[in-house]
């Protein structure tokens, strides 16, 4: 009866939490950036040699670098509220525009990797959980544990060497072939460029998903309700279909949604290795060259992205589990 009201109340609480999170993140990252040892002016001069001392002083005045930190924050923050994220020094374009185009590329990469790791991890996890304790299970489990310990950048380099340098199956980095007009790039060429970075990124988490699914399914298969289902004459397959999936699918899906942060972190590495022009590569470039408006914009955007992932994960639990829905468990 009051469930609708409860949903509205919970959504409201989430909204408040999201806004306060963004405020906290913007303050924290602004302070950290201001304390960063990389001087934005020097980075600019290095990138544009030949600027006179007079010009540098003018630029400092123009960028407001002489103002105290709180003044700068208020300036930046009030512009932000008006929807103005500033202009990237690095790309000389509005930050929002850069985030928009870059994010499209990154989203394609992350979505592919996310789906791949989810489907692959879930299937391998199910195979392990059903054959728990058998030879197959023990081999797969060891493999997964090894996978978990391999760093993303290393597997990226191995993929690059193996599949593009030695075998020549996939292009050596970038999102589109070089020397082709943007309008002439086919979807197949884009996909071809996407495979290796996406595979690298999915390697980050699929073993984790598999081990988690295995653990969950093992737990379900040794549960009392599966024992009772067997006593009622249900076959192994029926039990997997009726009780197995029902009980492990949701934890797996919610885990997928809450893995957005790892995905974002991994994309920074994967994009740098493959020279893939996504948000991750832009973030590290902005950080190294002290492109403060861009880096702050990306930070806020990624925080929002991760927050949305976690919110979806929590929301799904409420939808699926009748006990959570009624506030029992």
């Amino acid at each position: 009866m009051g469930s609708k009201l409860k949903v509205i109340k919970q959504s409201g609480a989430y909204l408040v939490r999201g806004v306060t999170l963004l405020i906290a993140i913007s303050i924290l990252s602004f302070v950290l950036m201001s304390l960063s040892p990389i001087d934005p002016m020097r980075a600019y001069v290095q990138a544009n040699p030949g600027a006179s001392a007079e010009n540098i002083a003018k630029m400092e005045e123009f960028w407001g670098l002489n103002d105290p930190m709180p003044t700068r924050f208020v300036k930046w923050g009030s512009a932000l509220l008006r929807g103005d994220f500033g202009t990237s020094k690095l790309y000389r374009r509005p930050v929002l525009e850069i985030i928009g185009t870059r994010f499209a590329a990154t989203l394609a990469l992350m979505l592919t990797a996310w789906t791949m790791s989810g489907v692959l991890g879930f299937s391998i996890g199910c195979a392990m959980g059903l054959t728990q304790g058998s030879f197959i299970d023990r081999v797969l489990k060891r493999l997964c544990l090894i996978m978990c310990s391999i760093p993303t950048f290393w597997i990226g380099l191995v993929f690059l060497m193996l599949f593009s340098v030695w075998l020549g199956w996939f292009p050596f980095g970038m999102a589109v072939p070089a020397g082709v007009a943007a309008g002439d790039v086919t979807i197949w060429q884009r996909l071809h460029h996407l495979v290796l970075p996406a595979a690298t990124l999915s390697f980050l988490s699929f073993a984790n998903v598999a081990l988690h699914t295995r653990e969950k399914l093992t737990e379900v298969m040794s549960s009392e309700y599966v024992l009772f289902a067997r006593a009622r004459g249900k076959s192994r397959f029926q039990i997997l279909r009726q009780h197995g999936f029902r009980n492990i699918l949701m934890p797996a899906v919610t885990m997928q949604f809450s893995s957005f942060s790892e995905l974002f972190g991994g994309s920074v590495l994967a994009e740098n290795i493959f020279g893939y022009p996504g948000l991750g590569a832009a973030a590290s470039a902005a950080g190294l060259q002290s492109d403060i408006p861009l880096l702050l914009g990306i930070t806020l955007f990624s925080a929002l992205f991760v927050f949305a992932g976690n919110a979806i994960a929590n929301g799904l639990y409420v939808v699926i589990d009748p006990r959570v829905r009624e506030g029992v468990a």
């Binding site: 304790g133 009392e224 067997r230 009622r232 004459g233 249900k234 009980n247 699926i320 009748p322």
Partner: protein, 322 residues
């Protein structure tokens, strides 16, 4: 395993409906259950948890298997239903309606002619509605629900929404959906109030009176005595004595020293504990399992397992039974 007919020619066709002449529904002979487990490295060893267990259940009677918690009596229920874990090994003989209960036969009978009543609502999938979970056959579920005065709307509830009394009736109803000849109930009353436990036992009594054979596994011997026809006393993975429930009226009428010790432990009979404890699986003594605690043991008890003999209408495994 050969198909051996036990007792007077009994076929599966014989109706179990109505009291009539009792027929032997379940016969367990020399049952052994052992678990293999991984030791250090890749070595395996076997842990024997049930040994030399003998038991019969006839139509129209409740046989209670009484033993302390953790003594492995649930495994007897699981062995009869063939739902032991994969690392369990069984040997011995289990017959149902006079024929060996092979895995193939069990597959067909489980959930219909042989039903299991679990301990609690924990045995239901928390994410699945009760009715659909018990059986996909909605008509059968509603008929069983009606028998236990459960509203059809209960079928649409999730397990956590059931009250204690509803849960008890739902679990019993789940057993009668398939028209069973044998019901195996594993600790159906733990944590229940006396009143609720009595109601649960009454359900089993009614089923037995209608001709069903009921194997009731319980640690509450006191409660079981009020409803069971015969009581099998379980000790360290075996049955030491199977006696008519009436024999528990007086200590002298019991045959095995452990049954007598149990009798003394019942509050109304003095509440006297027996020193020592049951041996752990894996550390079972040689010969008679009760010998280390037995006041009546002879010098040969530690060498060979006692044979099962019938004395005064009850079976007992003891060389010095009285």
């Amino acid at each position: 395993m050969s198909d051996v007919n036990i007792g007077p020619a009994v076929g599966a066709e014989v109706s179990s409906e109505g009291p009539g002449t009792p027929i032997e529904v379940l016969r367990v002979e020399g049952l052994e259950v052992a678990f293999s487990r991984y030791g250090k490295g890749w070595s395996r060893d076997r842990l024997k948890v049930i040994s030399n267990l003998n038991l019969t259940v006839r139509s129209g009677e409740i046989v209670a298997v009484a033993g302390s918690s953790g003594s492995g009596k649930s495994l007897l229920a699981h062995a009869v239903l063939g739902i032991l874990p994969r690392n369990a090994h069984t040997s011995g003989r289990i017959n149902f309606m006079g024929k060996a209960l092979t895995p193939a036969r069990l597959k067909k009978l489980r959930g219909t002619r042989i039903a299991f009543v679990p301990q609690s609502v924990e045995y239901l999938d928390p994410l699945m509605r009760v009715g659909r979970q018990i059986s996909p056959d909605r008509q059968a579920v509603l008929a069983a629900f009606e028998r236990y005065r459960l509203d059809p709307s209960v079928a649409e509830l999730y397990p956590h929404q059931l009250s204690g009394g509803m849960a008890r009736r739902v679990l019993v109803a789940s057993a009668v959906v398939g028209d069973p000849q044998l019901i195996v109930a594993d600790e159906p009353t733990p944590g229940m109030s006396k009143e609720l436990a009595d109601k649960a036992m009454k359900h089993f009594r009614d089923l037995a009176d209608a001709g069903v054979a009921v194997l009731l596994i319980t640690h509450d011997i006191d409660l079981a005595l009020g409803y069971a026809d015969r009581v099998a006393v379980f000790y360290a993975g075996t049955t030491v004595e199977t006696a008519p429930a009436d024999d528990f009226d007086a200590r002298e009428r019991l045959r095995h020293p452990w049954s007598q010790a149990l009798w003394q432990a019942i509050p109304a009979n003095g509440f006297q504990p027996t020193p020592g404890h049951q041996p752990y699986a894996g550390r079972l003594p040689q010969g008679c399992l009760y010998a280390p605690r037995c006041p009546r043991k002879g010098h040969d008890c530690g060498h060979h397992a006692p044979p099962t003999v019938t004395i005064r209408g009850g079976e007992v495994s003891c060389c010095y039974a009285s």
